[in-house]
Amino acid sequence: MRHSRIPWLIWVLASIALALFFIPLLSLVIRAPWSDLTQTLSSSVVHDALRLSLVCSLIATSLCIIIGVPCAWVLAYSSLPGKSAFRALCTLSMVLPPVVSGVALIAALGRRGVVGQFLFSGFGIQIPFTIVAVVIAETFVALPFLILTVDAALRQLDPVFDESARVHGATSWYSFRRVILPSIRPAVIAGVVLAWARALGEFGATITFAGNLQGRTQTVPSAVFLALERNRGEAIMLSLVLVAISLTVLVLLRDRWVTAVARGGSW
């Protein structure tokens, strides 16, 4: 048996790691006020937060696809100087504390921000503390996940497929749509799902840049944060909703897509 060769100390440390994941999640289930389930889930706070979370995360993910895939294409295939610096910037925004992202967004798009001052003085547009701010904050934190996943898959794809398409009459756009993108489809799907999951769970940047106003900017994570102060049971139930959604994402990602990305993003 393979496991008999693993030293006992490794077993102990691995068990601690597993317990660290498992016990808090199990505690959520144990401590959840199941008798209040219907009442909690039917409250307007939960409805509003869920609706806003789903709508904003889906819009943010769509934006990530629209601007992230072309960005990955440029990163992977262009001879743009400073590409590696841009890649590093993407990685940096992935590891940046979310609250810092929120502060950066205020500095850029706030009423007195670098860009925001012109939007406000020129067009009367004010972004912070609106649903637009929620979408921008979620896009900001989710975008690197999509760009880096797609960029890695594109760089690992043999250029001969693009060349083969081009020499047989395909423009670079046709080749990208009909050959390159379908060839890295698992990586694109994995990137989209990761970006969506990140957008859905986003809290720090959103609460800093968009606030926490029920029905306007309050997403599920923000509602959990507020509920912890006044009704712990509601906070636990809302957390379980997020766990259920994350679990669904994991189930969608399992096997083929995750394996395909690990293999290099092609079929």
Binding site: D158, V160, F161, E163, S164, A165, R166, V167, H168, G169, A170, T171, Y174, R178, V179, P182, S183, R185, S266, W267
Partner: protein, 218 residues
């Protein structure tokens, strides 16, 4: 009647590739040389994946590449069919869709595509594999699909880059015989690259020898 002439120099890293080629309809020019001689670079220059540093590539009256006149045509505008060292078939498409690709990319009508693809599936004995994906085919079958895809657009120029690479001896003989048959009805000009002079002797009407990017007297 097609006439392709390519003369000039190209630089790939530190390597200098001298190109001197003239081929017309009905001819098959074989380019031979050891690995790293620059044979594939010749084809890549003609296909438009590498630009010339000096000289020109002209097909009939159309200038494909001429740095002195800042003239360059993209690969998709050159009217080329190409068989790569590896079949380079699109894994997400069926055999039928792979063969149809050049016609679809050039915007031909669905009816035209269907008729021509059916004809080529029959001609290349691929009818029973029409719905298969490339991963379900043997190396030899994949190469037949690659040749069918290269020819279906009725290109002016056909480029073959080591078409027998990675194929076992028996299949190699079959594909060589198949290619000889296809060449007999091919109306364009053809350039065949191989490190094996037997392939070139069997298929080419003339040959060019390359070594370290330079022409070698044959």
């Amino acid at each position: 009647m097609v006439k392709l002439s390519a003369h000039g120099l190209s630089h790939i890293g530190a390597m200098r590739i001298a190109i001197d080629l003239s081929v017309q309809s009905g001819e098959v020019v074989g380019v031979v040389g050891p690995n790293g001689a620059g044979k594939t670079s010749w084809l890549r220059c003609i296909a438009g994946f590498i630009s010339l540093s000096s000289g020109s590539i002209i097909c009939d009256d159309a200038v494909w590449d001429d740095p002195s006149a800042s003239c360059w045509k993209a690969p998709e505008q050159r009217g080329i069919g190409m068989v790569f060292q590896q079949p380079a078939l699109f894994g997400h498409l069926s055999v039928r869709e792979n063969i149809a690709f050049p016609m679809r990319a050039r915007g031909k009508s669905t009816l035209q595509i269907k008729e021509r693809v059916d004809e080529y599936l029959g001609r290349f004995q691929l009818g029973r594999y029409a719905g298969f994906h490339p991963s379900q085919l043997s190396g030899g079958e994949q190469q037949r699909v690659a040749v069918a895809r290269a020819l279906i657009g009725e290109p002016d120029v056909l480029l073959l880059d080591e078409p027998f690479s990675g194929i076992d001896v028996d299949t190699r003989k079959t594909i060589r015989a198949d290619l000889a048959l296809y060449f007999s009805s091919f109306k364009g000009a053809c350039v065949l690259v191989s490190h094996d002079s037997h392939d070139v002797d069997a298929l080419a009407t003339s040959r060019i020898e390359l070594d370290h990017g330079q022409l070698r007297p044959s």
